[in-house]
């Protein structure tokens, strides 16, 4: 397995794990209050829709010339990845509330308890739609990452496999715990995903613009290390003037 393939699998796995933790919080939060059948059907339907999206869009993108694809995908990943990295740096520097699954879980339970009861197609419609939307919206980011990683490097299979393993592992953890997955170091994972997305975006966008990287794919780990160092220095600068922020369920 080449360095870039290993990084692609790691990136897809970590991104998928982070988003799955948030999706599991929603599904379990609703399931504990309103019963399991409807939210589980909603989560399953959303997972199926996401799998169809990957299967349809992934191969379709292979007809686009690779340098155009890398330019577009790289630019999108850069914009998307920098959002993740920016929030992660602000959280690590104490300027944004840390994401707290326990708080998000309690909020989900309160909303589920307060919602009215409406039955459609034999399902608790509130529980079904909340679980469906939650899994679909969290999963769309994973689909975007898997498709962009897979298409830009011709590694759709490994990227999808990395994401699928995370879905299964976090799903199993959710089944076992039946509560918020608070022990998952979610904020650290988000930092790592932001770094990987930004680095891959930078690498592919530059290649799409016609750049020849020194050392070709070997420059990718160097790029990750460079951005890790830059973000670390920014975090240190932010920590010199910390702001007391309450722990919350930030996005």
């Amino acid at each position: 397995m080449s360095t870039s393939t290993a990084l692609i699998v790691a990136g897809a796995f970590l991104a998928s794990a982070v988003e799955m933790v948030e999706a599991v919080t929603i599904v379990i939060g609703v399931g504990v209050v309103r019963g399991w059948r409807s939210p589980l059907i909603g989560a399953g339907a959303a997972t199926l829709a996401l799998a169809v999206l990957v299967a349809a869009l992934g191969p379709a993108l292979t007809v686009i010339p690779i340098h155009v694809l890398r330019l577009v995908v790289g630019a999108l990943l850069l914009a998307f990845g920098l959002q993740w990295l920016r929030k992660a740096v602000l959280r690590a520097g104490g300027w944004m509330a840390q994401r707290d699954e326990g708080v998000a879980f309690l909020r989900e339970q309160e909303q589920a308890a307060a919602a009215g009861t409406e039955e459609r197609a034999g399902l608790d419609w509130y529980a079904f739609t909340v679980a469906f939307k939650g899994v679909l919206l969290e999963g769309l980011e994973v689909v975007f990452i898997v498709i962009s990683f897979g298409s830009a490097q011709g590694e759709l299979g490994p990227a999808a496999a990395g994401a699928a393993v995370a879905v299964v592992l976090v799903g199993l953890a959710g089944v076992l715990v039946r509560g918020p997955l608070e022990r998952v170091p979610e904020n650290t994972l988000k930092y790592a995903v932001g770094l990987l997305l930004t680095s891959f975006g930078c690498f592919w966008a530059a290649e799409g613009a016609g750049v020849d990287w020194p050392g070709d794919e070997l420059s990718l780990p160097v790029l990750i290390a460079f951005l890790a160092l830059v973000s670390f220095l920014i975090v240190q600068a932010l920590r010199r003037r910390p702001v007391p922020l309450p722990s919350g369920a930030g996005a």
Partner: protein, 65 residues
């Protein structure tokens, strides 16, 4: 029309997020890289430097606010 607007809003939030200046900065940096490359300069350093500056700028703005 409502769905079209919602679809556009989704993609705007997804890609651009809450700081459009970062997206503009990325577009400019990629454009400059492409220009230099076509002039015969292998500007591999341009995007990493631009990303570092954009990140510092994007973090600095909420700090000032």
């Amino acid at each position: 029309m409502r769905y079209v607007r919602a679809f556009g809003r989704f993609w705007w939030d997804f890609v651009v997020g809450d700081d459009w200046r970062v997206a503009v900065g990325i577009a400019l940096a990629i454009g400059l890289t492409s220009l230099l490359t076509h002039k015969g300069v292998n500007a591999w350093w341009m995007l990493p430097v631009a990303v570092a500056l954009l990140l510092a700028g994007a973090v600095w703005r909420p700090r000032k606010a």
